[in-house]
Symmetry: C2
Subunit: 299 residues, 2 copies
């Protein structure tokens, strides 16, 4: 499919692409640029064919697909190097979780001779690092490709690449993407972080450890709030316009819940609690989760 692929930043997502590309034979040679030494050692163990490089220089002339899977705050530095060293035929893609900010970066900084198609595979976990990667990470998961009118043919090629990795591909524009994921991903993560912060404040004020009792709900949020802080800082900053709107709606709704509770508005509260089950039913119908009840994970 490609002759030479370069993966820049090889954590959990990057190394999953790496593993999938090798296993599906999507390229002849695969190069990796990863600066974390611990990660380098883990990557070497994945496959003997992997060529680790330590800088973006003229040797990159023969690369035909660059996959950037670093935190988004590193993109600008990388673009400067790519402008200098990539040949005009190479395609660039990335897997960042927000797209309007990267669209701007590309417009303002990428050499006009180069092509960059933004992607976003909707998969992952709270874990970081190549040892958590898997060639099956993308299997049956959505991958969003950001559509531009003029890019039809290379989008089609990239779409096939993701399908070979197991993804189901969907096209949308960057504005739509950032709006939707502010609700389905970015707000839930912020809320999880905020809940843990609130529990920590409570512990401090009451000088009492409460995590012992976390099985009733807090535990599940703590998992989400253990996600990589650099990646999430970048996402929150990049999508601050949509985040701001959705945080305000969340606070408005929470205040309304508080009033329902304080005034014991029975039918109001019951109706809201019942209604939320509908979303769960849709999620199960769309096979985004399984219906088996979760009693907590066992060792």
């Amino acid at each position: 499919m490609f002759k030479n692929i370069l993966i820049i930043g090889c954590g959990m997502i990057g190394s999953s692409i790496l593993r999938g590309a090798i296993s599906q034979k999507l390229c002849k040679n695969i190069y990796v640029l990863e600066k974390n030494i611990k990660y380098q050692n883990q990557i070497k163990k994945i496959n003997k064919k992997i060529i680790l490089i330590n800088k973006l220089d003229k040797k990159l002339k023969n690369i035909d697909l660059v996959v950037i899977s670093t935190p988004m705050s590193e993109y600008q530095k990388i673009i400067i190097k790519l402008n200098k060293n990539l040949s005009n035929n190479s395609l660039i893609t990335d897997v960042g979780s927000t797209r309007e900010n990267v669209a701007k970066l590309i417009k303002n900084h990428l050499s006009k001779k180069l092509k960059w198609i933004m992607c976003h595979p909707i998969s992952g976990s709270e874990a970081s690092g190549p040892k958590y990667g898997s060639k099956n990470l993308f299997k049956n998961k959505w991958c969003i490709i950001i559509k531009k009118r003029k890019n039809y043919l290379i989008e089609k090629k990239l779409s096939k690449f993701w399908e070979k990795l197991g993804s189901k591909v969907l096209f949308m524009n960057e504005q739509e993407h950032d709006k939707i994921f502010s609700v389905t991903s970015h707000l839930p993560h912020l809320i999880a972080y905020n809940l843990i912060k609130t529990a920590q404040d409570f512990q401090k004020t009451h000088k009492k450890s409460i995590v012992k009792y976390s099985a009733g709900g807090l535990r599940d949020f703590s998992r989400i709030a253990a996600s990589n802080e650099i990646m999430w800082r970048d996402i929150f900053f990049s999508n601050k316009k949509n985040m701001s709107v959705i945080i305000d709606l969340f606070i408005k709704n929470l205040k309304s819940f508080k009033i329902d509770i304080n005034k014991k508005r029975n039918s109001n509260l019951l109706e809201k609690l019942k209604k939320s089950k509908k979303v769960r039913q849709q999620i199960l119908l769309l096979k985004q989760d399984i219906s088996k009840p979760d009693f907590g994970r066992e060792n």
Copy 2:
């Protein structure tokens, strides 16, 4: 351990006590009062020895342990019947998720001749109904017993009962209990409900289905928000004093996160995101969850 046990309300929790009591041989006879006909049929299948009754009347004279596991909004009606029909030697317990409200109910309505020790097993899931019960539900999970000075001996007996069901028993008073669980359980549930409500509002405004993209975080919250609405209405109403305080703290913290994001306060935000990992580490250390990353549950 007991001669005759009566379980009033036999959903997931009640039927788990039922199963555990039979399996551990904690009583000679076991009676169940459950008004839901579908549930009755499921209960009959659990064991032939179970004696289903349909009202609380004088035949209860020989019961020595009553376990109430209905929603808390039914307690008052039940107390009136128990006052009339139980003998003075019987012990009453329940498994409600808030304790100050029930302490008041007991004080104001329970006959002085009867003894009621409040318990709260910290286990469960979003599922409802006896078919989801299990004799292992309480295994290695905390069970809180609300301590009163004068009840030492019967608390000890009840503590053994829970230990036989697999629980690790802890004692505390009702004020402490309601405060702690407002943070570790009640707020997380309200937040999950509120997040789903916010996503529903977004869908309505944007006329766009977003659940398809729920794998990035929303999915996990939707599971929690699929919990039984009657049970959670009762909990929120019963613990409204503590809920109000912790909701305010949550909103204050969320507004501060919003400012950090909008003003791109890098070190503030990073420090908070990093700090929340500590709670996760404590939770894993205390074996309240496993460290294996969660990539979403597969069929």
